[in-house]
Subunit: 349 residues, 2 copies
């Protein structure tokens, strides 16, 4: 009896009628279920003629293997999760793309989500990905406590943290040399004669922001320059806050002659402020930004390689899955100072 009406308890939401299954294909081709499975998976042991009949039935019915069932059976999903702060941030685009390319090379799909810099949302996302049984996770953490991941790690979910370290668990980490990069950037300003140098960065609870501030402090200390509290401003990176911070440093009795900005968003806002400003103020920014070379003056930056961060992390992830990787490690990628003019302006008192 072909074409029997199966399906007993379908959801009402399912429209059109549901998808054909291997059973349907088998019935139509007049073969057994397992034979269809063999054809679909390219396994050996099927006559050319039988294979043709099966292919024909697949074509005719529009059959597509149901990966949920497959995953349930096999245990691996061939997909990895990526949790980052904001997909729309130009820094994360290339990183995300790099992760995707590595995943693709390993035959895996990428599922991603934005945490919006919210620890709860990060956890929610990560656990949702685990419930889908992703094979691995690349996480740019928003929170600083990742003990909630312990059962997942034990269960064998490969995990790599990028851009910022994991909190309170032992895991692979790939970061840029935030401390060293900031230190070199500030030293560059000092080398060009600046002493009153401002620092505007992200919220101090964010690891990268703290590290870059540490780099700033070290460079200043190394040069024997005492730092005034009014020279440092940490907080959210929305344009309003940053603008106020920059204007504060540039006015008053003891204005800065140079500013070091803690990330791409801050840099962009500060460039705007400086453009409206009469006095020439030197600027070095963390993170490269597009068109930085075409501004007047060109913007000197400490560039990190977002694509390399993503690639390195993803490659480690798949090595964890291979089993070729045993101990968690911390990898630090170097930054690169790109001089374009803004950092070489002399102090204008």
């Amino acid at each position: 009896m072909p074409e029997t009406p199966r399906r007993t308890d379908r959801l009402p939401g399912t429209r059109y009628g549901s998808r054909p299954t291997m059973k349907d294909v088998a019935a139509r081709a007049g073969v057994g279920l397992k034979t269809v499975s063999r054809v679909v998976n390219g396994e050996p042991g099927v006559t050319a003629e039988t294979e043709r009949r099966v292919q024909e039935a697949i074509e005719a019915l529009g059959f597509r293997r149901n990966d949920s069932a497959r995953v349930l059976r096999k245990g691996r999903t061939a997909s990895i999760g990526l949790v980052l702060e904001d997909l729309a941030d130009p820094f994360y685009g290339p990183l995300s793309r790099a992760v995707e390319e590595v995943a693709r090379a390993h035959g895996a799909l990428l599922i991603n989500g934005s945490s919006a810099e919210d620890a709860d949302r990060e956890q929610e996302l990560v656990l949702a990905l685990c419930a889908r049984r992703v094979d691995g996770l690349v996480v740019i953490p928003a929170g600083d406590d990742h003990r909630y991941l312990e059962p997942e790690l034990k269960a064998g979910v490969a995990t790599v943290f990028v851009d910022r370290p994991a909190g309170k668990i032992d895991a692979d980490v790939v970061v840029s040399d935030n401390y060293g990069g900031a230190r070199d950037g500030v030293a560059h300003l000092i080398a060009h004669g600046h002493r009153r140098i401002g620092f505007i960065g992200d919220m101090p609870r964010i690891h990268t922001a703290a590290e870059r501030l540490r780099g700033y402090r070290t460079a200043m200390a190394d040069a024997g320059i005492p730092v005034a509290d009014s020279w440092m401003s940490l907080g959210v990176t929305d344009p309003e806050r940053v603008r106020r911070a920059a204007e504060g440093m540039l006015s008053g009795p003891d204005p800065v002659t140079a500013i070091f900005t803690g990330n791409n968003r801050v840099t962009v806002t500060v460039i705007r402020v400086l453009a409206e400003h009469a006095r020439r103020v030197a600027l070095v920014g963390f993170d490269d930004i597009e068109l930085a070379d075409l501004l007047q003056p060109g913007v000197t930056v400490v560039a990190q390689d977002a694509a390399a961060l993503g690639r390195t992390a993803a490659e480690r992830l798949f090595r964890q899955l291979d089993g070729t990787l045993l101990r968690p490690e911390r990898i630090e990628l170097p930054t690169r100072l790109i001089t374009r003019g803004s950092g070489e302006l002399p102090p204008a008192d």
Copy 2:
């Protein structure tokens, strides 16, 4: 007999030992399987005391529901797929983020992949997403024939095409007014006295590129200006090709006095070329670019709202899933001319 060694044919790759299941939780809590299910899903009909015992067992074992099995049973995955050209392109970041936000509001996860402007890769990705049984698809098409999607549409996979229309199938489409935007941008140059205006765009097989070229031609025709072949250049948007095209238009016996660029990547490269150029050349670009206002002169652009494209598409997708949407439709979002200086330069002959 508790702690019996289950698992017969596990993959060798699975490390540590596999995850606990509802069965394990049930055994530990001393309740039935279904009771665990009820607790996990917050269904009514469980005593506070029983619930407490189950929660305790879940906690102790680090249980996490397996969504593959759930999907297999329920038919819906609560995830949607997004296929775009390149995650690293600044235009797609906000679009992607907007889709994600709408998905999140509907409790769905986002799976995405880059087609790299390759029709085969697009198809491969889309079908992989369908095999995972995503509830819906948002596609920025690379190819121009989407008949391969017909079985999926019939099976009820909600689908919306964004930025470019679908090929050879009837589906929802959300696009910008590429034709009108380009026409207005070029008319703006004409209004400022230009007659010899160049057009540099993407490959003509890409729908947006063709539409923008059509807008250019219309504006020129409306002004009664005959267009020389040497004023138009279509092709890949890599910097080398664009640079040659721009330099070609700017030299020779009859150089252009203004250039209209067909997308953000082209615009950036042309800005670089013009910066090296002695003569002032007017420029209007399609797509807004960051820092465009800070260049000298500021870059006049025809801006499209990438986030609105993504949001609109995703909202339509979920309305399809609700069943509140019946007929496929084509939605066109307006563009906006933002004048900043480069488009208002007079012709310098």
